[in-house]
């Protein structure tokens, strides 16, 4: 061993013996909490996804990938997957576009913007169950929406918004749009307020149009904020549950069934714990994959 190597080993040994353990001790309670409440259930559920519960609190049987196969060969899984894809338009695309438009309008300094910002943000703080119930009332056959539409002569008979195989999912999406637009608007507004003025001034001097400035300056610089909304939207879409459960229960005839409501039914309605665990991990994987794709497609910008 050369002299240089000897001194390096000696240094490392000395450094290790002088290692300051205090930061690790301070982190220990948090680490223990994460291990107990996050890691353990996650690992336990993952193992459960390869088992069949034979008796409660007792016997389980290893079934390999059977639970995963059962989930993906269930026709209702694909119905729910298609509905979730449609639902994501209401969870992500529409509120993102609307939120961006509102954020830009408010950022431009329109009259009463503080009031408007608060007003648009109010739905975000309304609990999802309350919002679902209120929209159920509004959209019921005797509700305000039907009254307005019949009074205005748009429709002759009250529409069955929530128990129609064609209207139930769009009705839930309407509530989601109302609820999420303010959330996205606040994130995007924060992003817009952080954009440098000098870039826009330079563009103006160069005679660029508003559309060109939006396309070539605002959008690229706003990419981190848009990416945050996109990733949060994807995760929330996969996790979305109460939105549909409260308003339509996934019906009628599974027309508004989304993956999370179907997952709930499999795991806690039918007590198929192994299949439910597999379903949960499939949803987890989907959220992970779609979020990663979104980040990659946006050029790998750090959030």
């Amino acid at each position: 061993m050369s002299e240089t190597q000897d001194s390096l080993v000696g240094k490392l040994t000395t450094d290790r013996s002088q290692l300051d353990w205090r930061p690790y001790v301070y982190l220990l309670p948090a680490f223990v909490m994460v291990a107990i409440f996050l890691a353990y259930p996650l690992v336990d559920t993952f193992l459960l996804s390869f088992q069949e519960v034979v008796t409660l609190g007792g016997e389980t049987r290893w079934v390999g990938l059977d639970n995963y196969v059962a989930v993906v060969t269930d026709p209702l899984f694909w119905v729910a997957a298609k509905n979730t894809l449609i639902f994501s338009v209401g969870m992500i695309v529409l509120p993102l576009v609307l939120g961006l438009g509102l954020a830009m309008a408010i950022n431009r300094g329109i009259e009463g913007r503080s009031f408007l910002r608060s007003l648009i943000f109010v739905p975000v703080v309304v609990p999802i169950v309350v919002a679902g119930i209120v929209f159920s009332w509004l959209l019921s056959p005797n509700g305000l929406v039907n009254w307005l539409l019949t009074t205005a002569g748009v429709i002759e008979e009250p529409a069955r918004f929530l128990n129609s195989t064609t209207l139930s999912l769009p009705s839930v999406m309407l509530m989601v749009l109302w609820k999420r637009t303010g959330y996205y608007m606040v994130i995007l507004l924060a992003g817009l307020q952080g954009l440098p003025d000098d870039v826009y001034e330079a563009a103006k001097i160069m005679g660029k149009s508003r559309w060109a400035m939006f396309r070539h300056i605002t959008l690229p610089l706003l990419k981190p904020a848009i990416l945050i909304t996109l990733v949060l939207g994807i995760i929330d879409t996969v996790r979305a549950f109460a939105h549909v459960y409260v308003m339509t229960g996934g019906g009628p005839s599974n027309s508004s069934e989304i993956l999370s409501t179907h997952f709930y039914q499999v795991a806690f309605g039918y007590f198929n714990f192994g299949k439910g665990a597999a379903y949960g991990f499939i949803l987890f994987g989907m959220a992970l994959v779609f979020s990663t794709i979104a980040i990659k497609l946006s050029g790998g910008t750090e959030i």
């Binding site: 069955r160 339509t248 019906g251 009628p252 005839s253 599974n254």
Partner: protein, 431 residues
């Protein structure tokens, strides 16, 4: 200074630990370490609706050494938490288990054997459809009937008179029911019938309200071996067509609505009839005028059929882990014994408003005084059907509910809708 602080910290930790350990003890200071007590044994009953809390004073008044606490949780939360509690060996000592869940819980090995208790009790006047369906699985008694719910229809006699229908002769066949409904629609301002049987939030009502019309025509959900679904056969087609006519002629509220509480419109006198469960005693307080004019009748039947009803409700069970603590197990059995007694059944009928499991439970002064309401229930208990007892019955409700919704919304013809339901249920049965 530093030493003093350390001492204080140690004192604080010791005190906090002592308080924490004290908190871990039972609220009943008389209990010893294994949950038993020198005087009183505490047990918990898990049930699903607030009125069932009446079992607590009812049972406790009759006991000296056992104290029951009623733990009420709405159905979905109840079964979710029950599964976790049984899994963790921390289940309540006694549970009112919806009969539809019984086979699945038995299959999961979650329930104690109550065979010897059943023999000890030796009651021989249970309503016939309840035994063995509500009690036995694989030749083992895992439950006893607790409180019974059955489906009938309520009608407002004053509305009937207004529509020119004899209130003492309520309609008994599909055709008579349609005619009476048309008379109400044409001669009064009321909607004839409050109905929900295929709302997506109303899973279970397709069995509770729809199946009696199939049974009335001698139809069945499954064959005897439970290997094939028979819901695409003529009795079911006739039953759906009956409801479809009701919908198409505006003779009922929307039966696919997500609003499951259809009784409200009957109590508000917006409707003249309502498909209902056996829990009706609350109407006396909430709508006294309706209560005074109200009568009950069994569901209509096809020509030549036999009127039927769905017998549901809860069985009383003791989760498996409870047997390990003999004192608690004996106390739990004492509650089961009481629930089958005249006193327990009186609580079920008079204090809670459901129906008793044994015929003697309906032979009381209270029932006699309200005979015009209980006659139909008594007949329903005798002529009704218990639900199909299969571990996957819960799973099979969904295809049937969906088929009814599509047929009643006019989005699919009746026969293909039922045929699709049959095919899906067959797959579940064979899965």
């Amino acid at each position: 200074m530093r030493n003093i602080n350390r001492r204080r910290v140690l004192k604080g930790i010791t005190t906090a630990g002592a308080i924490g350990l004290a908190g871990c003890q039972s609220g009943n200071s008389s209990e010893n370490g294994n949950g038993a007590s020198s005087g009183t044994v505490q047990i918990t009953l898990r049930e699903r609706d607030d009125p069932m809390a009446a079992y607590e004073p009812g049972f406790n008044e009759a006991q000296e050494n056992i104290e029951l606490t009623a733990s009420i949780q709405p159905p979905e939360e109840k079964y979710r938490s029950l599964i976790s509690e049984i899994n963790a060996g921390k289940a309540p000592e006694v549970v009112g288990l919806d009969v539809i869940y019984l086979p699945r819980f038995v299959q999961l090995g979650a329930l104690s054997d109550l065979g010897s208790l059943n023999e000890d009790l030796g009651h021989d006047d249970y309503f016939e459809p309840l035994t063995p369906d509500f009690t036995t699985w694989n030749d083992t008694v895992h439950a006893l009937p607790f409180w019974i719910d059955c489906s009938v229809y309520l009608y407002n006699k004053a509305h009937f008179e207004e529509a020119g229908i004899d209130p003492e002769s309520p309609p008994t066949t599909f055709q008579e029911f349609l005619d009476a409904s048309r008379a109400i629609r044409d001669n009064t301002d009321y909607t004839p019938l409050s109905l929900n049987l295929a709302g997506s939030n109303a899973l279970g009502l397709e069995l509770f309200f729809f199946m009696p019309h199939v049974w009335a025509g001698d139809g069945k959900l499954f064959n005897e071996e439970m290997t094939e679904c028979l819901i695409d056969e003529q009795p079911a087609i006739d039953a759906v067509n009956f409801f479809k006519t009701m919908v198409e002629e505006d003779l009922c509220t929307d039966p696919t609505s997500n609003d499951t509480w259809t009784l409200q419109s009957f109590m508000n006198q917006e409707t003249s009839m309502a498909y209902s469960a056996g829990f009706i005693s609350h109407i006396e307080e909430e709508s006294p005028e309706v209560w005074d004019n109200m009568a009950t009748a069994m569901f209509p039947k096809p020509e030549g059929g036999t009127q039927s009803s769905f017998l549901g409700g809860n069985s009383v069970v003791i989760p498996k882990g409870i047997t390990e603590n003999e004192e608690k197990f004996n106390a739990a059995k004492e509650f089961v014994r009481w629930s089958q007694s005249e006193d327990g059944m009186r609580t079920t009928v008079e204090d809670i408003g459901y129906l008793p499991p044994r015929q003697s439970g309906l032979e009381t002064e209270f029932v006699e005084e309200n005979g015009h309401l209980y006659d139909a229930f008594t007949r329903a208990m005798e002529q009704g059907h218990a639900p199909p007892m299969h571990p996957k019955t819960i799973e099979m409700q969904d295809p049937l509910n969906n088929a009814l919704a599509r047929a009643l919304l006019g989005e699919q013809e009746v026969e293909p809708a039922l045929s699709e339901a049959k095919s899906k249920i067959d797959k579940i049965l064979q899965g």
